[in-house]
Subunit: 346 residues, 4 copies
C-alpha cells in the first residue's frame, strides 16, 4: 500500500484518477489539492464519488505532500516544474500529467507554452512515460512525464512503421479527432454544449502544442531520422475519445503483406494495445473508460499509402489510466492493476 | 465460483452483463446464447470485450444450460416463460431480466404483452427482485424477476412516502425520462441517431408497459391501498440513464420537516441507494455505469407537493447491475461484489 | 421598411433574431449593440451570418437607438428596465426579450431577480406578449414583454383547459425539459459540453424564476381563480427545444370526450399553434428553428388526469421568433412574415 | 411556376427537398412517391411539414410524373437509371440525387455498386452537377447527376489547387467526417443512437463508393493529369454536417503566399462558396441547413503541406440544396432562390 497525493484535482483528469484509484488495492489516496476549492468534499464536486471518498480538497502544501510515496500532478502547465522538484528532492516520486516535462528541447517548450522552463535539470532527467517504449526506464524513474492524449494515439499507431523503417518518415500525416473533455473543465465559451454540440471542426490546424511532442516521439521511433509530420486536431461533439487516422507511404509496396504481422508482433506482449484484424474500424466507444489503445490497418486498392486508425480514451490511456499504468510499473505492482476492466459500451 | 449462463446475449443488457461479470471473482460465464449469431465470438460483436472473453454465441440448449448454477435471461418477453421452467425443474436458478415474471396479475400481463402467460405457476412463485424491498425472499428464490428500469427508479423514489403513509396515494405522478439504450439494439427507424439525436419527446403517454409494473410495486409499498398513478416516459437524446421526477401530496404539510430524515433512515443500510441533501439535483451521469440509485427531495415554497428526483443507469441498476446484485444475494456473495465501482463521470 | 435596433446581441437570442430578420422584407437592422464586443463584425462572432450582414457590434447609444422604429432588448435582466424608458420617451417601440417587464407584481419580481424594479410605470403598462392571448393589445403596445420560453410552452398547453374551467386549477403540474441553449452563451462550468452531454437532470426544482411568470399567466387564463402549480425544469443534452408535460385533473371525467375539439377550436385561427391528433407525441425537432408550438393530448385508461405534451423551440417561439411575431403584429405586417418556414428535421 | 415531382421521398434527402421547396416561389410540388408509404400524408411522416404540405405519398407512376417539368430522384442507386430514361424521353428534366449517373466509367460504377449499368447512353450525357465547375452545362442539361456529399466538400476544397497546377496531384489525402444522416433513414443497427452516439470511428477506410467519384472530379480539375487520392470517411456523433480536411504538397513552397488570393479569386462570384480568412476553422454548424460550402487554408510552420478544411451540410449543399441550386440554374431562376437563408446556429 503506497500513499498517493494528487495536486490539482478539480479537472477531468483529477476525477478520472480518483475513479480509477478507488478500485486500486495498493493505493491510499491521502491528499488531493485545489487552491480554489480547498475545504470542499471531492464528492460534492463529483457526485459519482459519493460513498467512495471522504477526502476534501486542500491547499497544496509541500510538507504534507512530501509524506506521499507518489504525487500525481494534474495541473495546468507551469505548476509542476515549479513545485515537483522540491518534492522530488525529498524523495517523492512524481507522475506529471501536464506538459511540463514532456519535451527535451526546452526552447521548443518555451515557444509553445509561452514561458521559460524553470527546471531544466529535471526536464533532462524525466522519463517520457509511454510504457510501450520506455517500460524499463519508467520502472526506475523518479519523474515520469505522462504523455499527452493525441501523442499517445499517434505514437502507438506509427511505432511499428517507424521502428521497422518501412515507411518514408518525411511526410507523415496525423488527422486527430477528440471529444470535448480534452479541452478541460474550465469555463470557456468555446466548450459550451451550445457551441460544441452537433458540430464538428478542425482547430489548431496551423499548429497545436501536441505537434512538437508528437514529432519528438516519432523521431525517437525512427532512430533519429528526420521526421516530417503534419498534425491537425478536430473537435468531436462527444465527451471522451480520440481517434487518429494516420497516413504514410511504404518505401516498398510489397511490404503491405507484412504489416499486419509486424503490428501484431510489436504489441503482442503489450497489455494495453490491441491490434484488430486488417481492415477493421476501431470505435472510440470500444475503449471508453478503458486503458486500451485499439488500432487497425487499411489499404485502398493497390495504393502504397498505409492507413492506421488508432483509438484511445483521452482521459484514460491518454491521461489518468496511463498515469496509473506508469505508477504500477514504478512501484512493481501488476501493470494492469485497477485498469484492466472492459470499456463501457454502449 | 459458480457457473453462469446467459440466454439472449446480443442486446445491450447482454453486453452489460458480460462487462460487469468480467470482474466478478466468483463467476465463470460458461455460455451465452443467440440463435441469430450462433458461432460468432462475443468480442467480434462487442469489441470492448476483446481480451476479456473467448466465448462465442451458441444456440440455446437446455442440456448445456442445465449445467449452470444460474442462468440470466436477457431475452424479449415470451422467451423466459417458455424456456426457464425446464431449467428450473433441473435445479438451475434463474434471474429473468425480461418482463415475463414481473406481474402477479396475469390478465394484466396478457393485455400488455399481447399473449397468454404460459407459466402461471412460476409467475406466482417468482420473487420481484428489488433488493431494497425483497432481499430476504431473493436469497431463497429460485426465480427472480428482475425489475424494469423505470419501475426501479420510480419504486425506490416513492417507497419511503408510501410505506410511511405520509402521502395520498390516489394521485401520484411519475414523469420518467430515459436514454435511447432503453429501447434496445434492434434495427428500428425510431431509434436511429438521426431520429433520436437533438430531439426530445414523450412516448407511450397514453399507456406504457411499465405502468402496471409500477402500480403493482406502489400498491405493495402502500400496504395494499389503492394507488392512482400516472406515468409518462420520455426519450432523451443520450444513451444511458433514467431520471424520474415524482410528484405526490403530503396529507399533512407539517410532515415536510421529517421527509429528509425519513428517506435517509429508510435507505441507510442500502449499499445502492444514495439520498443526497435536500434540494440537490441528481444527474444521470453520476450513476453512469454504476449500480446506484441516487435521489433528492424538493419543495416549492409552502406547497405540499413532494418532489423527488431519482436517477439510475437503466442498463445497470435498471437491468444488468441489479441482476448481478440479485445473483450476489442468491448465492451468498458480498452483495456489492463487482458492482461497487464509481460511476464514470464525465 | 422599419428601422430596427438590437441591444445586447451577442447571446443566442441575438444571433437568432439576426438569423430570422435576415429574411424579413420589411426590416432594416440598423444597429446591434454589445459593450464587450463593440467593433467586432457580427459575422466574425457568428459565421453563419457571413454574407448576410455587414453590421458590427457597437456601444449602446441612446441617440442612435432612438432613430429606430423598434428596439429589441436581448439583454440580461436589469438592463431593459433602465434603458428602455428613455427610448420609449422618444417614441421608440420596444420588445423586451428579458424578464424585466413580464411580471405585474413587482415585489415578486424583486424577490426572484434580486433587485428592486426601477421602472414600475412601464412594468404596469407593458403588454405580456403572448399573441394567442393578447394579440389586440400587442398591436397597440409601445412596450411588449416577450414571454419566457418555459412559460410559452406551459401557458399554451394549459390555456384551453383553464379558460374553459374544465379542470381543477389548484394542483397543476408542469414538468419542463429544455436544451442547453436556454442557459445562454456565458462561460459557465455547468453548461460545458463535458457537463451537459450524455446526462439528464432536474434543476431549479425547489423554485425557478419562470414559476411566478407561469403562475401569472395561468391565473389570467383561469379568470383570476387561484392556481396551484408545481414547475420542475430539466436540462436535456441537446441544444434547442423545450418539451413540457402538463398534468391536471378534469372536474368531470366525461369531459374527456370534448377535449380534442376544445383544443382544436381554441387554436384553429392561430398560425403558430398546431394541435396534433389525440394520442400523438410531438417531438422538439418538429419545431426546431420554427415558430410553432405543437401539442397533443393523452389519457391513461380511465384516469381523469389530462396529459398535455407541448413543444417549442426555446430560441424561436420561446424567444426570437415570438419577438418577431410580436413585431409583425405591432407594425401591421403579415403576422407570419419571415417566421413561416418549416422546421429543420432531421 | 414549374411542376415538380419527387421520386423516393421518405428518406432524409426527400424531407429536406420538401423543406427547401416549401419556400420556393417558382415551384409547385405535385407529386412525391413512395412504394412503401403510398397513401400516407407526408406531414404524418414528417411533422415539421404539418401545415406546409397537403401531399400524400403515392405509387410512382410514369404517366403522372411525366406531367412534371422536373423530377428529382431521391432513391437508392439502381432506381433512377431504370425509371428516369422513360421520363426524359417524354421531355421531363431530371435531377438525380442518387449515384446512378455520377460516374462516366461504367465499369467502375458497376464494380462499386454491384450491378451493371442499365442506361449507358444517359450516363454519358448526364452533367455532373457541381455548379462551381459546370454551371453552363447544367443550364442546358436534361439530366443532372447531383454530386455526392463527400465529393462536393472534397472537390470544392481541392479545386483551386488542382486547376492552378500548384500541387503535386499524385498524393492527395482527404480525411472526411460526416454526421449520421449521411447513412440515410433505413433501419440498421449500425446507425442506432445507441451505436453512433458518443463514439467516433473511421468506416470504409479500405474503400468507399465516393472514392471513384472524388477521383473523377479531381482528375477533371487537374486537366486530366493522373491523380492519386486517399479518402477515409469517419462517422461523427451528430446528425448533419461534413468536414473534410485535405492535405496536399505544393510543388513550390513559395506559392504559399498566393494561395489565399487564389482561393478568393476562384470563388469570388460563387454565391455558395465562402473562403474564410487564412488560418480560420470552419464549423459544420456554420452551414447547418444552408447551401454554403465554407473553407479555410492552413500551413504548419514552414511545411509545404497545404491544409484545407472544407465544411458543408451533407443534406443541403451535399444533396437537396445543391439539387435545388441545379434546378434554379436549369430553369433560369435566380440561382439562390429559396436557398439563401443563413444557417441555423446554434
Amino acid at each position: 500500500m503506497i500513499k498517493v497525493g494528487i495536486v490539482g484535482g478539480t479537472g477531468y483528469t483529477g476525477v478520472e484518477l480518483l475513479r480509477i484509484l478507488a478500485a486500486h488495492p495498493e493505493v491510499d489516496v491521502r491528499q488531493i489539492t485545489s487552491r480554489s476549492e480547498a475545504g470542499m468534499a471531492v464528492a460534492d464536486m463529483y457526485p459519482n464519488l459519493r460513498g467512495h471518498y471522504d477526502l476534501r480538497f486542500s491547499e497544496p502544501d509541500v510538507n504534507t505532500l512530501a509524506a506521499c510515496d507518489l504525487v500525481f500532478f494534474a495541473t495546468p502547465h507551469g505548476v509542476a516544474m515549479r513545485m515537483a522538484p522540491e518534492l522530488m528532492a525529498r524523495g517523492v516520486r512524481v507522475v506529471d500529467l501536464s506538459a511540463d516535462f514532456r519535451l527535451k528541447d526546452l526552447e521548443v517548450w518555451a515557444s509553445w507554452y509561452g514561458m521559460a522552463h524553470e527546471s531544466p535539470d529535471w526536464a533532462a532527467k524525466a522519463v517520457y512515460g509511454l510504457p510501450e517504449v520506455a517500460r524499463k526506464d519508467i520502472r526506475e524513474a523518479q519523474l515520469v512525464a505522462n504523455p499527452g492524449c493525441y501523442p499517445t494515439a499517434v505514437h502507438l499507431g506509427f511505432l511499428p512503421l517507424l521502428e521497422s523503417g518501412l515507411i518514408d518518415p518525411s511526410r507523415l500525416i496525423a488527422d486527430g479527432k477528440s471529444g470535448a473533455s480534452g479541452a478541460g473543465r474550465q469555463a470557456k465559451v468555446g466548450t459550451l454544449h451550445g457551441e460544441v454540440g452537433e458540430s464538428f471542426k478542425a482547430y489548431g490546424a496551423s499548429g497545436h502544442r501536441h505537434l512538437p511532442e508528437i514529432r519528438q516521439g516519432l523521431v525517437n521511433a525512427a532512430a533519429g531520422q528526420d521526421v516530417g509530420v503534419t498534425f491537425v486536431p478536430h473537435l468531436v461533439p462527444m465527451i471522451r475519445g480520440i481517434e487518429a487516422t494516420l497516413y504514410s507511404e511504404l518505401r516498398d509496396p510489397a511490404d503491405f503483406e507484412r504489416l499486419q504481422g509486424l503490428y501484431e508482433t510489436r504489441f503482442k506482449d503489450e497489455p494495453f494495445v490491441d491490434v484488430m484484424p486488417f481492415g477493421s474500424h476501431p470505435e472510440t466507444r470500444s475503449v471508453r473508460g478503458a486503458n486500451t489503445c485499439r488500432m487497425a490497418l487499411h489499404r485502398q486498392g493497390d495504393s502504397n499509402t498505409v492507413i492506421v486508425s488508432s483509438v484511445i480514451d483521452n482521459l484514460v490511456k491518454g491521461a489518468a489510466g496511463q498515469a496509473v499504468q506508469n505508477m504500477n510499473i514504478m512501484f512493481g505492482f501488476d501493470e494492469v492493476l485497477a485498469i484492466n476492466l472492459p470499456a463501457m459500451l454502449p
